[in-house]
Each structure stands twice: as structure tokens, then as C-alpha cells.
């Protein structure tokens, strides 16, 4: 073709919807997609090889695709992208989208849909995924025409990431993927919605002065840092503010690794499984500064008795959160990093030496409930020592999650990744795959219980095929341990449906062609962790831990933070 036609040709170049989809993703900086093909998304998969900049990871179940995208998003701060077909492919995303929604992580899910003419006719593999995911996404859109496609993808990526992040789903009918159009932007981004001034309570400067006054007058202040600290990257600002005022820092489950745990001002995790001195500090506090959190019921226990002496200052990006779960004395609507930086400028430097001494006197030596020498504590301590603190730990949900949260000494920002709000078992293994792509240079450990591991262990095949060197560990106690613990404490030790059988994990590893170890005593731990970490590909380590170990202390559900169960023998409170 004569060269002078080339320019004209590219200006009027007609692309298929599928090509536009890929092109828009690529142009917006996406380079990684977790997905699974199927009928209604086939045009997209047909176009995909034309875009070598889009690395595709074929998972074994769509739930893993969304968890992996979530893990990638949490570790990288970028939007994680996953793709599934219509019907069952789309419905398999539901748990992962709800997980991302509860923990506010930016995820874009793209689903195929039956052709437009078939929508509403109960066609093969048709499901109303827009209706299904409306309550569990930040936003979702059905694309009606190819001319909307590029802008919809750009908007979706922006909406997922901006403000309080969250998952966005874009549903693309198969015939829209095949429609032809020019690749272009037809309009700019819709204006970002600003928070109306009437919800700011008072201008920022006045709010900061008010906060500074409350802090200056406080005798027993505490800071409670949540996920917002990690999402906004407010590590330095939090530290500066804490050091300037001497205020002790509590980190919630999702706030863990937002503040170095070796720091003398770090107290620990609050709430249901918080240490006694942390919860007592909350109950004695006269000012509580909550940063980037929603005062979840697992943090507060009975809200009527939560921090009864404290004036609460709530720093939070989303004005709908302020006063939602606990009454506050002062709400400051804003980004955690920005507000903490301003607050550090506004407060008068002070110390809290007396208060720190008082809190130290609350501290109790943690009651060891781990019989046998292979305790979760010893495993986690060894993992930290062997990796020299240089690994990211992705936990699943249950007892091991609490042990990791409480016992692993996190020093580096954002190295603790877990499903907090939704409490999704099966999260760790697929999420760790995503974390690996965000941090290819460092070991990523996915630690699960024997229950959660069996929920998504099919992803070992993905790791093998895609060469994803995730280090998997299983804390095997032969029980759904957290439920068993509740049965022990509150249901008269009736262990209904909690004993759980496992396959031979070493043989399972062998079947998948990966390295596997079983650790039965503490003296093997360091050596095995060292070998697994050094190994090139994915590995699996099974730790045979005490069957009936419990997580202490524990605030019974619905009780106040002042009523912990501190250790064995745990009371048997029948509460059916």
C-alpha cells in the first residue's frame, strides 16, 4: 500500500470491540490479566494474542482470578484486572468482588455477556451479573454499544482507583465484542464527585485546630490505624505524627504493616483477638484517633461499651463512615496521608510517658496454648528469621490468620495481606499469585489453614503452568480451627462438622510436580523454610500443629472489649 495512505488508514482504522477492549486496557497501563475463557468472552480471547503487552494468567477457577487481581492490587497499589465469561464464569467472581468491596481494593472485572438480542431471554450462560454484583461492587456497567467501550474501560479503571477504592465490573455482550468501530475517545472523564461542603462538618483548618486541642488536653490518647493508612501510603506521616506526640499506635487487622512493629509506640491489634493491654488501652483512652477505618464490629466489640471514656477523632476519606458505627467527637473527611501530615504540623509536640508506662503495666505475658514444640509462634518467628523480614505474608482466614496478625513481626509497609472485612477462606493461595506479580523479587508466602487451603488448592496448577513461585504453607490441625474454638467456648464442645480430613499434601505436591515438605517438629522448621524459600518454583510446606490450639485472648461475640477470655481453661459458655 502506498505510504501516503497509511496515515489516513490508521485514522479511520476499524477495530473490533474485543481489540478496543485490549487496546484501552493497554493504553491505560494494564499489563496483567487473570482470567478464564468461555463462550461469551471468546472474541476478547481471540484478540488477546495481538496485544503481547497484556500478560494473561490462566487460572483454574474464576474465583482465583479475582482474588489474584485483588492480591496484585493490594501489593502494587494499581488496579488488578480479571476476566471471565458470562453465566457461571461471572457468578464465580462474586465472592472475590465482595472481598474487594469490603476491603476497598481496586479491581476491574470484565465479563462476557450473551449477545444483546438474547439478553432477557434466559439464554445459554446468561445471568444478570449487573444485578447480582450491584451490592458488592463500587460500580458496574453493561456496555450497550461498541462506541461506549473504550470510555467505559477508562472510566472503570479510574473509578476503581479513585477516592475510596473498590471493585468495578464491566459486562460486555459478545456481539459488542465483535462490533467494529474506530478506537477513539468520544468524551473526557466525568468530573470526579466532590464531597459536598456541608458534610465536611467544619473547614479543614478549624478541624485540625480542634483535633490539636483535644490531643493537647488528652492524658491517655491512642491512635488506631486502619487500611486507609496503607491505601494512602501514610506510613511516614503516621510515624511522624505518633513520634511527635508520643501517642501509642494500635493497628487494626488491615492496618497491620502500616506502622513498624518494632517501634516502641506500636501496641498491637485491637478487638476480638486483640491483646489485653491493647483493648484495655482503648477502654481507658480519653482520646482515640481513628485513621482510615470504619470501626468494624470485630474491632469494637459491643459498640455501646467501646472506648467509653474517649472522645473519638475520626479521620476518614468517606464521609458516610463518620459516625456510622460509633459516635465521634470530631470527624475529619480526607485522605489519611494528607490529614496526618497536616495534623503533625498543627499539634504541639508532647510526650505520653506516664500513659505509656500505664499501658505497659496492663500487658500480660500471653498465655501459651500451644502444646508441643511446633507452635504457630515458633513457625512464624522462624519464617521471619529465615527470610530476614524480607517476605510478604498473605494469610487466609481463621486461627492462623489471627496468629499471623498477632505474632509475625511486620516491619516493612504493606507486607501483610489478608481478607479482613469479608473473611474469605480460600483467599490466600490465589491472592498470593497476584502479590508475586507485584513483587517478583521477594518471596511471597501464602499461609492457610487446612480448611481454607482446600478451597482453592487447584491453583497449584496455575502456579506450575505460569511459573509463579508462591511459597505455600498449611497450618494443619485437622479442624476448621476457628469454628471449633467457638464450638469449644460457646457451644458446649460439640464439634459439629469441624473435623476435616486432608489429603497427603506432600504427595499432592508431588502430583503437581512441585516441591513439598511435611514438618512435624520445630527442629525441622528453619531448614525446610530455608529450602522452600531458596527453591525456584512454587513450594508447599505442611506444618502439623497442635489440634486444639486456641487463639487467645478472645472477646466473646457481642461482649465489650473489657471482657476477654484470656486463656485455658476456657469457660464453656453455651450460647446457642
Amino acid at each position: 500500500m502506498p505510504s501516503h495512505f497509511e496515515g489516513v488508514d490508521s485514522m479511520t482504522e476499524q477495530l473490533s470491540g474485543a481489540q478496543i477492549l485490549c487496546r484501552a486496557l493497554q493504553d491505560e497501563g494494564v499489563d496483567l490479566i487473570f482470567g478464564y475463557p468461555g463462550g461469551a468472552i471468546m472474541p476478547f480471547y481471540h484478540a488477546l494474542p495481538e496485544f503481547p503487552g497484556l500478560r494473561h494468567v490462566l487460572v483454574r477457577h474464576e474465583q482465583a482470578a479475582v482474588h489474584a487481581a485483588d492480591g496484585y492490587a493490594r501489593a502494587s497499589g494499581r488496579v488488578g484486572v480479571c476476566v471471565a465469561t458470562s453465566g457461571p464464569g461471572a457468578t464465580n467472581l462474586v465472592t472475590g468482588l465482595a472481598t474487594a468491596q469490603m476491603d476497598n481494593t481496586p479491581v476491574l472485572a470484565i465479563t462476557g455477556q450473551v449477545p444483546r438480542a438474547m439478553i432477557g431471554r434466559d439464554a445459554f450462560q446468561e445471568t444478570d451479573i449487573i444485578g447480582i454484583t450491584q451490592p458488592i461492587t463500587k460500580h458496574n456497567v453493561l456496555v450497550h454499544d461498541v462506541t461506549e467501550l473504550a470510555d467505559t474501560i477508562r472510566d472503570a479503571l479510574a473509578i476503581a482507583a479513585e477516592g475510596r477504592p473498590g471493585p468495578v465490573l464491566v459486562d460486555v455482550p459478545k456481539d459488542v465484542q465483535n462490533q467494529k468501530a474506530e478506537y477513539t475517545s468520544t468524551r473526557g472523564r466525568p468530573a470526579k464527585k466532590e464531597v459536598p461542603e456541608r458534610w465536611l462538618e467544619q473547614p479543614r483548618e478549624a478541624a485540625l485546630r480542634h483535633a490539636a486541642r483535644l490531643i493537647a488536653e488528652a492524658r491517655r490518647p491512642v491512635i488506631m490505624a486502619g487500611h486507609g493508612v496503607l491505601l494512602s501510603g501514610a506510613y511516614d506521616e503516621l510515624r511522624r505524627f505518633a513520634e511527635q506526640t508520643g501517642i501509642p499506635v494500635i493497628t487494626t487487622l488491615l492496618g497491620i504493616s502500616g506502622f513498624p512493629e518494632s517501634h516502641p509506640l506500636h501496641l498491637g491489634m485491637p478487638g476480638m483477638h486483640g491483646e489485653v493491654h491493647v483493648n484495655r488501652a482503648i477502654q481507658y483512652a480519653d482520646v482515640l484517633i481513628g485513621v482510615g477505618l470504619r470501626f468494624d464490629d470485630r474491632v469494637t466489640g459491643n459498640t455501646a461499651q467501646f472506648a467509653p471514656r474517649a472522645k473519638i477523632i475520626h479521620i476518614e476519606l468517606d464521609p458516610a463512615e463518620i459516625g456510622k458505627n460509633v459516635p465521634v467527637a470530631l470527624g475529619i473527611v480526607g485522605d489519611a496521608r494528607e490529614v496526618l501530615a497536616q495534623l503533625a504540623e498543627t499539634v504541639r509536640p508532647r510526650d505520653c510517658a506516664e500513659w505509656q508506662t500505664e499501658i505497659a503495666s496492663f500487658a500480660k505475658h500471653r498465655v501459651e496454648s500451644f502444646r508441643g514444640d511446633l507452635s504457630p509462634e515458633s513457625i512464624l518467628r522462624t519464617l521471619d528469621e529465615v527470610t530476614n523480614g524480607g517476605c510478604t505474608v498473605v494469610s487466609d482466614v481463621g486461627q492462623h490468620q489471627m496468629w499471623i496478625a498477632k505474632l509475625f513481626p511486620y516491619q516493612r509497609p504493606n507486607t501483610h495481606i489478608t481478607s479482613g472485612g469479608l473473611g474469605t477462606m480460600g483467599f490466600a493461595v490465589p491472592a498470593a499469585m497476584g502479590v508475586h506479580f507485584a513483587r517478583p523479587e521477594e518471596p511471597v508466602w501464602a499461609i492457610s489453614g487446612d480448611g481454607g487451603f482446600q478451597m482453592n488448592m487447584q491453583e497449584i496448577a496455575t502456579m506450575v503452568q505460569e511459573k509463579i513461585p508462591v511459597k505455600m504453607a498449611i497450618f494443619n490441625n485437622g479442624y476448621l480451627g476457628m469454628v471449633r474454638q467457638w464450638q469449644q467456648f460457646f457451644h458446649g464442645r460439640r464439634y459439629s462438622a469441624t473435623p476435616i480430613w486432608s489429603p497427603d499434601y506432600v504427595k499432592l505436591a508431588e502430583a503437581y510436580g512441585i516441591a513439598g515438605w511435611r514438618v512435624e517438629s520445630a527442629d525441622q522448621t528453619a531448614d525446610v523454610i530455608r529450602q522452600a524459600t531458596a527453591h525456584d518454583g512454587p513450594t508447599l510446606v505442611e506444618f502439623m500443629i497442635e489440634q486444639e490450639a486456641n487463639v487467645f485472648p478472645m472477646i466473646p461475640p457481642g461482649a465489650s472489649l473489657s471482657e476477654p477470655i484470656e486463656g485455658e481453661p476456657a469457660p464453656t459458655l453455651v450460647q446457642v
Binding site: 449487573i130 444485578g131 450491584q134 451490592p135 463500587k138 460500580h139 453493561l142 473509578i159 468524551r187 473526557g188 472523564r189 466525568p190 468530573a191 470526579k192 464527585k193 459536598p196 456541608r198 458534610w199 468517606d318 464521609p319 458516610a320 459516625g323 456510622k324
Partner: protein
């Protein structure tokens, strides 16, 4: 204190946006009395009016939640005394010629009008505050009421509307 509160919401005139907004109301588990939706002053923008029984912080928080929904331009909460509320009702009453005059007397008292009449039934139209409409319905209990259709309340805040509800629809940034 639990009171009647109005949520007045300006949103894109699309079923999907309405569905998102109403879905939000359902999920937050509140005591909703009525929902009315129709065009607003701006083309393409609908006004959704929700009457709910709640305390003021709850109503305000719901407005904040609604404000986050993509496609919602403005959401304000105000108490019954801070707004003007009206609803319209159509009431079908079985025609009883022996009591026709009595029926018209009651209608006159409530400024209701006869909008349709057949040998079997009369349709009356009334509008006013929710309490006024309810009072009329009670007054009609002594007749044979066949069917009732109520619009649900629409309302406007007495104060000038806060925020910038109208300009947002067309404004874009590149």
C-alpha cells in the same frame, strides 16, 4: 428521635441508576415509607423522593451513602418540618346513588375532585400532605372503597438546594 425524614435525590434518568439507588436503600435496612420518582427541572435528571422513618443522623448518613452512587448528582435529607410534602391519590368508590350527595360533601371538604364516573364506580382525586390524604381515606371508609392508587410523597426542601446539582450533568474534565 425518630421522625419522618425526606431524602431528595437527583440522579440520571436511567433504570440502572434508579436500581442502584433503591438497592442502596434496601441494603441499609431502613424503614422506608414511600418512594416516588419522576422528572426534575433538568432534562435527563430524575428526582427520587424517599420518605423514611428515622432519626436525623441516620437520614443524613443515608444521603451520604446515596451520594456515592455513580449517576447520583445530589442527595439531601431534611425533616418533615423543613420541607413541603405532597402526594396525590386516586380512590375508586363503588357508585351508590342513594349516597352520592354525601360522597360529594366529603370530597368537597377535602377539595377532592371527581375525575371519572361510571354507573359502577366513581374515581376521586385528592392531593395534599401525607396526613391529609390519609385523613381523606379514613373519611371514605364509610363508603365502599374499591381501589386506591397513591403516588407516594414528593417533597422540596424549603431552603435553597445545597450544592451544585444541575451543573454536574454536563461538566467534564479531560
Amino acid at each position: 428521635m425518630t421522625l419522618s425524614h425526606t431524602l431528595s435525590v437527583l440522579l440520571d434518568e436511567e433504570l440502572i441508576t434508579l436500581s442502584r439507588a433503591v438497592g442502596m436503600l434496601r441494603r441499609r435496612n431502613l424503614n422506608i415509607r414511600s418512594i416516588a420518582v419522576g422528572p426534575s427541572a433538568t432534562p435527563g435528571v430524575a428526582r427520587l423522593t424517599i420518605m423514611l422513618q428515622s432519626d436525623e443522623p441516620t437520614a443524613d448518613r443515608l444521603a451520604r451513602q446515596l451520594h456515592k452512587v455513580v449517576g447520583v448528582h445530589e442527595a439531601v435529607a431534611f425533616s418533615a418540618r423543613d420541607g413541603v410534602t405532597r402526594e396525590l391519590a386516586l380512590i375508586k368508590v363503588r357508585a351508590d346513588h342513594s349516597r352520592y350527595a354525601e360522597l360529594l360533601d366529603v370530597a368537597l371538604l377535602y377539595k377532592a375532585t371527581v375525575v371519572d364516573e361510571s354507573s359502577e364506580a366513581v374515581i376521586l382525586e385528592v392531593s395534599g400532605s401525607e396526613a391529609f390524604v390519609l385523613s381523606f381515606l379514613r373519611a371514605l371508609e364509610r363508603f365502599d372503597v374499591l381501589e386506591v392508587a397513591r403516588t407516594g410523597a414528593v417533597a422540596l426542601d424549603r431552603a435553597p438546594v445545597a450544592g451544585v446539582p444541575f451543573s454536574l450533568t454536563s461538566e467534564t474534565v479531560s
